[in-house]
């Protein structure tokens, strides 16, 4: 578990989002927030990830992919549903193509998954960083 505390490598999954949260995640890399100075980096494969940043409501088409990505991520890992959609489907609740939210889909696959919610629409980069740091300190 201690390996997760420093230099967290994160993998980003979009399961059907409006892209606001995705853009704010990428914003974290830019000079104003610059999370790379903490050693946090966005990796290109779930196999290298310590944490998953998941955005989106989990549409019916995206659900199998989310489960696939979760399976490929080495455990232990932390799943962060980012944004109102990922936390609880947000304003898209009840849509015919929405099968989420994220924690429901992940827990079907792994009831013991570690999940830390970062709400907001979208959460500001400061909120995301604060959420990730809080969750990792609590582990």
């Amino acid at each position: 578990m201690w390996s997760l505390k420093k230099s967290v490598w994160v993998f980003h999954v979009n399961t059907g989002a409006c892209n606001n949260c995705d853009i704010e995640i990428v914003n974290c890399l830019t000079p104003r927030y610059d999370i790379e100075r903490f050693g946090i980096k966005l990796v290109g494969s779930p196999r290298h990830a310590d944490a998953l940043l998941v955005t989106g409501v989990v549409t019916r088409q995206a659900a199998p992919r989310l489960i696939d990505v979760y399976r490929q991520t080495p455990k232990p890992c932390v799943v962060f549903p980012i944004g109102a959609c990922a936390c609880d489907t947000g304003i898209f609740r009840g849509g015919y193509h929405v099968v989420g939210p994220v924690d429901k889909i992940i827990r079907e696959e792994d009831p013991n998954a570690i999940i830390a919610f970062v709400p907001g629409c979208p959460p500001k980069p400061e909120a995301m960083i604060s959420g990730v740091v809080k969750a990792l300190s609590a582990i």
């Binding site: 979009n14 409006c18 995705d22 853009i23 000079p31 104003r32 549409t59 088409q61 193509h97």
Partner: protein
């Protein structure tokens, strides 16, 4: 035509590639040249039009603002234009000007986002970091006015929700002035850089005929010499009262589209400045008691092009049908026309030039006939950057100098 071995090409995204899955864009290649393309979309389908029918008229703007995060002022405004058409009302003047201010600020930060991404795809990561850094003051302004960096929730039927306080006007003008200098510097740097010329000119050309056949909109159309812009053709909000011009370029290649977008940022600053200076006094909303039966077609010029909303009402308090057409819906299929005949190293930047929603751009890869990935997105991105490096070596020009203010 010689029957060569066909390898389908797929795109898989940069920040979230899923290498084992085929998704989105399937390109067929002949050697290293693209010969055909197919697209699978469904991952983002949230059934918004159906959800809209269960919401009341004044709840819908919150929903449609989240159709696409970076057009989140344009969608609600197009919807509101449709509903106001049904109701036969016009929002007060001050509200019309506020709508212009918010939408132009959105245009600025959306185009700067694109500039950053475009730079990233061809290997100019300094441009990426720079453009996204200078988006931040625009997002700060939007947060001061509306309370959120995105998803402003500022339009309602009959007007606006949040006012632009008069005390804020000097600050807006000051920030616009600063941004203008920076964008002018960037525009000049891009337009003068011989490497960018060599890298982007003649790449991903969308001919005027194809642009008409695919019914494209926005900078994708204006970069192919089609002068359409909803703000000019079918004026809404206060655009009819302001002095500005539609930007077009004739060549239709990626460079032309980049130029259109950069010049549009400067034009947006110009429009926003006029709107702030001319902001009339008065109320910012009318009380609308009910929406009569009828149908309306509302549209707005989003950063990506014409956003079209059709709303039908039966006199109740919910829409009975709400059709949403985002500009990317017609622009992304045109990628088929602009990508065929291109080298796979140019695929990422050609797709980016259409400026689809962020996560759409990152769904490209090459697979063989057994669906094994031959070139994943990371490789395609690398090829794109290597091409730039090769051109740099051939031309021997100096590094792109980005000044920091």
């Amino acid at each position: 035509m010689k029957q060569t071995v066909k390898k389908p090409v797929l795109a898989v995204g940069p920040f979230h590639p899923l290498q084992e899955e085929m998704e989105y864009f399937q390109l067929t290649v002949d050697g290293e040249i693209v010969t055909d393309i197919d697209m699978r979309i469904s991952y983002n389908h949230r059934g918004i039009e159906k959800i809209s029918e269960s919401l009341q008229f004044d709840q819908v703007p919150y929903l449609v603002s989240r159709v696409c995060g970076i057009c989140s002022a344009s969608h609600p405004l197009a919807y509101i234009n449709a509903v106001e058409e049904i109701a036969g009302v016009t929002a007060p003047e001050r509200a019309q000007y506020i709508r212009v201010i918010i939408n132009e600020l959105e245009r600025m930060h959306s185009h700067l986002l694109w500039v950053g991404l475009g730079g990233h795809f061809i290997g100019y990561d300094t441009v990426f970091m720079w453009a996204w850094k200078y988006r931040e003051p625009v997002l700060d302004l939007l947060e001061e006015i509306t309370g959120n960096r995105n998803n402003y929730g500022n339009v309602r039927v009959g007007g606006c929700r949040e006012d632009v306080p008069d005390e804020l006007k000097p600050k807006i003008l000051e920030e616009l002035g600063k941004l203008e200098k920076k964008v002018e510097m960037l525009t000049k740097a891009v337009l003068d850089d011989p490497i960018i010329h060599a890298r982007l000119k003649g790449v991903g050309v969308l001919s005027k005929d194809d642009a008409v056949q695919y019914a494209v909109a926005g900078p994708t159309a204006r970069g192919s010499d089609i002068a359409i812009d909803v703000r000019y053709d079918d004026p809404y909000a206060a655009y009819g009262d302001l002095d500005w011009k539609v930007i077009t370029q004739p060549e239709g290649d990626v460079f032309a589209k980049a130029v259109v977008r950069l010049l549009e940022v400067l034009e947006a600053i110009n429009i926003c400045r006029q709107a702030v200076k001319k902001l009339p006094k008065g109320p910012i909303a009318l009380e609308i008691k009910e929406i009569p039966a009828g149908e309306g077609c509302g549209r707005a010029e989003a950063p990506r092009g014409e956003t079209f909303h059709y709303v039908r009402s039966d006199g109740g308090n919910r829409p009975t049908r709400h059709k949403i057409r985002a500009p990317s819906y017609v622009n992304v299929p045109s990628f088929r026309a602009s990508c065929i005949g291109e080298h796979i190293a140019d695929v990422t930047i050609t797709l980016a030039a259409v400026d689809p929603c962020y996560s759409c751009t990152e769904r490209v890869a090459v697979v063989d006939s057994h669906h094994n990935v031959v070139h994943d997105y990371a490789t395609l991105l690398k090829m794109s950057r290597e091409k730039t490096a090769r051109i740099k070596k051939e031309i021997g020009a100096p590094e792109l100098k980005m000044e920091d203010f």
